[in-house]
């Protein structure tokens, strides 16, 4: 995994949304070369490119708490359930930030995001099990917070 420094860091997660939402706000993080603006005539980002962009975002070694929160909240705002590899990177970011609660919250959010598709969450947990064991993260089910 080639770790890139802050200058060549991943594209900002919300470069599609921030210009339309906040008007003149400019991001300090440079954008990736792939056209990710919402043009119908432009090149569409593939699923792999999307995943790679997000994995790189969370893999930033000195990611700070704000960036983790911003990344997760944006990712959950999309109309998709994140791939296990993105979640793996996010959980490792939580570990670097010494934030177990956020790691558990992320797992809860993924289950909630899957909605009526009950088979997605067990699959994600199955894929993430090695990481969960390595980092010592308990699933919400193990802690009993998946029920009221």
């Amino acid at each position: 995994m080639d770790v890139s420094g802050p200058d060549t860091a991943a594209s900002p997660p919300a470069e599609n949304e921030s210009p339309s939402e906040s008007g003149q706000e400019t991001s300090s993080i440079p954008e990736a070369p792939v056209a990710t603006r919402c043009y119908s005539h432009g090149k569409q980002e593939t699923d792999e490119e999307f995943d790679a962009r997000w994995v790189t975002y969370f893999n930033k070694p000195d990611i700070d708490a704000w960036e983790l929160r911003k990344g997760m909240n944006t990712l959950i705002g999309y109309d998709l359930v994140p791939e296990p590899k993105i979640l793996d990177a996010a959980l490792r970011a939580c570990r670097r930030l010494n934030d177990l609660a956020s790691a558990i919250r992320i797992l809860e959010a993924v289950k909630d995001k899957a909605g009526p598709h009950k088979e997605i969450y067990p699959y994600v947990i199955q894929e993430l099990q090695p990481t969960l064991n390595e980092l010592g993260i308990s699933t919400p089910e193990e802690l009993g917070i998946d029920k009221v």
Binding site: D99, L100, S102, R105, A109, L135, G136, G144, I145
Partner: protein, 176 residues
């Protein structure tokens, strides 16, 4: 007349005082009580399913126990017990997703109250029928209506597409 106008003006002033925030803070300064005023310039905590990680944690000021737990969090998480992990979760978050999403029984109360008011309406309706309205005129009785209908048919009321057009004059019955 004049006194009621003054009373109305007084009421309006009181109502405005209740709404105006400066009046509120003035009242709290008088009493010397610190009421929790929402400072919207600061990051807020919120439990929302679409915002998994809110801007601040639920608990920001830690006591000694909690500080020790936070220190333990810097080490390997496999060394934390289940209770400690739960405690860490509750430090950051007030409600779990399950608690956020849980339904209440409010709909039963709402339905009950709606039906109760419908019943009350029914009561008023029955009372009106029983005690307010006079009996229906004799021209609504079955015999009268039969005679009336026959007369309408004899007069060929609305024969093209209305009343009489539905009567079969040959067979002397209503058209099927």
């Amino acid at each position: 007349m004049l006194s009621s106008r003054i009373a109305l003006r007084g009421f309006r002033l009181l109502a405005w005082r209740g709404l105006s925030s400066s009046a509120h803070t003035h009242a709290t300064q008088e009493k010397g009580v610190a009421t929790p005023v929402l400072d919207c310039s600061q990051p807020q905590y919120i439990d929302r399913p679409d915002i998994p990680l809110p801007d601040i944690t639920c608990i920001t000021k830690y006591n000694l126990e909690q500080l020790k737990l936070k220190e333990k969090e810097s080490g390997p998480w496999s060394q934390l017990t289940k209770d400690e992990k739960l405690a860490l979760y509750r430090l950051n978050f007030q409600k779990t997703y399950a608690e956020m999403r849980q339904r209440s029984n409010e709909w039963k109360t709402v339905l009950g109250v709606v039906l109760w008011f419908a019943g009350l309406t029914g009561l008023f309706y029955w009372w009106g029928l029983a005690y307010v309205y006079k009996p229906v005129p004799h021209t609504f009785s079955e015999d009268w209506v039969a005679m009336q209908t026959q007369r309408m048919l004899d007069l060929r009321i609305n024969p093209v597409s209305g009343f009489s057009s539905h009567w079969d004059y040959e067979k002397k019955q209503w058209k099927k």
